[in-house]
């Protein structure tokens, strides 16, 4: 048998049309889970209520091992039928939406609209619904399926929940699947190098306002941004500096005493990632030395580049499954949960469930129709792993 022949995978792909029909029939269950879970605010470091609700769902569905661990992760296990592997599905339970925002969702026949619905309430709702789907289609996996809603994942959380689970969990994880709400067709198997940080600028209270030069924290921060923009980045390995967010100031006529830039360095090269970070540190020192303002650099999250090969059976199988849905796989490196699996040397992929719009806005939305394909893709990938189609020879 050549590496390209895979009868287990072929059999799984044959089942996909049936899986799509089965998932269509549980539409209300999934949408209800999505609305109920998604309407519970879950900003990073405050995911307790959403996790508690998820655990209730797991318990109602008869999962034998449900628990909340020391860092707040919600965990449920679908017991295998004797297999010795543990296949882990993870969806980050936190969102970027503050608790004060109205979290109510609207459901129409075409889409679900609400803050954080795509990133990543849908992922968590999929975890809550999966045991129900397995029961409905009569699927009893050979190996254990561990469902984890990871906490403290975004921003300063730096994947703390997932990293804790992978370092301390009693069930060694054999494969990982990161479930993201969007987009269907997404397939990530590599993580790029990443450094994430804040640059803050403060003006001392006894500032001499008559002094020539920059007269606000915003202007000083602007100087920093201009200098970062001037950093020459090579075409290969691919690298970039993402200016994610700036904040500062209170009104039209008040001099700004505090401003903050949130940025992320991305690169295929770990060395280059560090070089860019060194250069940004020099810039902050240089700007500070010219003024009486304080400019501080705080790097709080790091990812090392890595991942499994394009030819790894897990990637190959997932790719074929996505193609069989009539969807073109979109291969892109990830800086999210995948990195935690990569750091532990665990083969893993990130996949998306459906299409989304207005990401990050209060009216963020997901499209319902592609969800069935997205779920079929996920179940087929689990079946492929469970059936041994993703083993390295």
């Amino acid at each position: 048998m050549t590496p390209f022949e895979n009868p287990v995978l072929d059999a799984v792909i044959q089942e996909i049309p049936g899986l799509i029909s089965s998932t269509e029939s549980i539409r209300e269950i999934l949408l209800a889970n999505l609305a109920m879970l998604g309407e519970v605010p879950s900003p990073s470091f405050h995911e307790e209520r959403r996790i508690r609700l998820l655990l209730d769902r797991f318990t109602e569905l008869g999962l034998s091992k449900t628990s909340i661990d020391e860092v707040g992760n919600g965990v449920g296990v679908i017991d295998g039928q004797g297999g010795d592997k543990n296949i882990m599905l993870v969806a980050h339970a936190d969102t970027i939406v503050p608790e004060t925002v109205n979290h109510t969702f609207t459901i129409t026949p075409e889409e679900v609209i609400g803050p954080g619905v795509a990133d990543n309430s849908l992922g968590v709702a999929v975890l809550a619904t999966l045991p129900y789907i397995f029961e409905k289609i009569g699927y009893k996996p050979n190996n254990n399926i561990i469902l984890v809603a990871g906490t403290k994942s975004l921003g300063r959380g730096n994947l703390e929940g997932l990293r804790f689970f992978l370092s301390n969990g009693k069930m060694p994880v054999s494969y990982g699947i990161c479930v993201e709400g969007v987009r269907l067709g997404r397939l990530s198997h590599k993580s790029i190098g990443m450094l994430r940080g804040d640059i803050t600028c403060r003006i001392p209270e006894q500032y001499d306002w008559s002094r020539f030069g920059s007269s606000s924290a915003i202007l000083t921060l602007n100087e920093v941004i201009n200098k970062i923009n001037d950093i020459r980045l090579p075409k290969r390995p691919k690298s970039s500096v993402v200016m994610g967010s700036i904040e500062g100031g209170t009104s039209y006529n008040t001099i700004t005493t505090y401003a903050r830039l949130k940025f992320e360095i991305r690169s295929e090269s770990a060395e280059l990632t560090r070089e860019i970070a060194d250069r940004i540190e020099e810039i902050t020192t240089e700007v500070t030395s010219g003024h009486s303002e304080t400019v501080e650099l705080d790097i709080f999250a790091r990812r090392e580049p890595g991942g499994i090969a394009f030819s790894h059976p897990l990637v190959r199988s997932t790719r074929k499954i996505i193609k069989s849905l009539g969807v073109e796989p979109h291969l892109a490196p990830s800086t999210s949960e995948l990195a935690a699996f990569i750091d532990k040397g665990i083969p893993a992929v990130t996949i998306g469930i459906t299409e989304g719009n207005r990401m990050g806005e209060d009216k963020e939305s997901i499209t319902i129709e592609p969800v069935y394909k997205g779920l079929a893709q996920l179940i087929a990938t689990i079946k492929a792993i469970d059936g041994g189609a993703c083993e390295l020879n």
Binding site: E28, I29, A32, M36, T100, N102, T104, T108
Partner: protein
């Protein structure tokens, strides 16, 4: 609760009265069907009774599996009337449940508790006939939710009236809430104002027939919905007051020496001009359903 419901052989219907509720109806149907039909079979039917929506309310409700009816198509030979009370009254004929649960269709933070919380006392306490929901009513201001305000007609009209004439009924925390569950035997015996006064009239009639023992209340936590304008609340109050006066007279508590007017006048200012706006509001009533021949026949009331 489902086991006890089945042991008693009860059937339960959920009625969602609608008029242009396309933004909220989808989630209501999805949540109730998923949680209280598929997962836990507490409800035997979910029905939307519509007053003639011009938006996609009916289409959306149907697409998520609710039974949908146009109020005018139920008992079609009767004179057509428009109003939420009309939908509630006709649901008694159309729906099959021994218990009917009414939930307004404009609730943004809908949750299965809005139904099962109201049903519970009727299943476990045979003496209870009418369960009313109450909640903290936050106003929705832009995208920030704050837990105060709301229930203005309750506080400035209904509660003072009850305090004056029916002090026992002041124990009902949200007398105007649109969420309640009632036994069929009670619903078929009481008249229904077709408009704003339906909830007030229910309380007065059930209290008059069965006393306070018939009532239970359930804390539904929070209810988020769009807030009505003060002008709309004025019209609502006018209708409720009509119902109250009618019932007060029938019950011998009020002695009215003339019929009340049915035109409600409000002012609207345009620059420096003040225009009078007149609303003709009549709290028309439907008689008890058990006086309608088709109902008596359908439910075999004459043996």
């Amino acid at each position: 609760m489902v086991e006890e419901k089945e042991r008693q052989g009860l059937t339960i219907s959920l009625c969602l009265p609608t008029l242009n509720e396309e933004t909220t109806i989808g989630k209501e149907v999805v949540l109730f069907r998923s949680e209280l039909m598929s997962r836990y079979p507490l409800l035997d039917e979910i029905a939307v009774i519509d007053s003639g929506s011009t938006d996609k309310t009916i289409e959306i409700a149907q697409s998520f599996g609710a039974d949908t009816y146009l109020a005018d198509d139920i008992l079609p030979h009767l004179e057509k009337k428009k109003g939420k009370g009309e939908n509630l009254w006709k649901s008694i004929y159309q729906l099959k449940g021994d218990i009917i649960v009414y939930v307004d269709a404009d609730i943004k933070n809908i949750h299965p508790r809005f139904a099962y919380g109201l049903i519970g006392p009727l299943i476990y306490r045979p003496e209870v006939k009418y369960v009313k929901g109450f909640y903290d009513r936050p106003l929705t201001l832009s995208n920030v939710t704050r837990p105060s305000g709301g229930g203005r007609v309750t506080e400035i009209l209904t509660r003072p009236l009850f305090s004056l004439f029916f002090p026992e009924l002041t124990a009902i925390i949200q007398p105007l809430s649109g969420e309640y569950a009632v036994r069929r035997g009670v619903l078929e015996e009481i008249a229904f104002p077709i408009g704003y006064g339906v909830e007030t009239s229910h309380l007065l009639d059930v209290y008059g027939k069965y006393g306070m023992e018939a009532f239970a209340q359930c804390d539904l936590d929070q209810r988020i919905h769009d807030n009505k304008s003060t002008r709309d609340l004025g019209k609502m109050s006018f209708g409720i007051l009509q119902t109250f006066l009618t019932r007060g007279k029938e019950m011998g508590i009020l002695d009215l020496h003339k019929d009340y007017e049915t035109i409600f006048r409000q002012f609207q200012a345009v620059k420096s001009e003040y225009d009078v706006v007149e609303h003709h509001i009549t709290e028309d009533e439907r008689p008890p359903m058990n006086t309608i021949p088709e109902y008596r026949k359908k439910y075999n009331l004459d043996g």
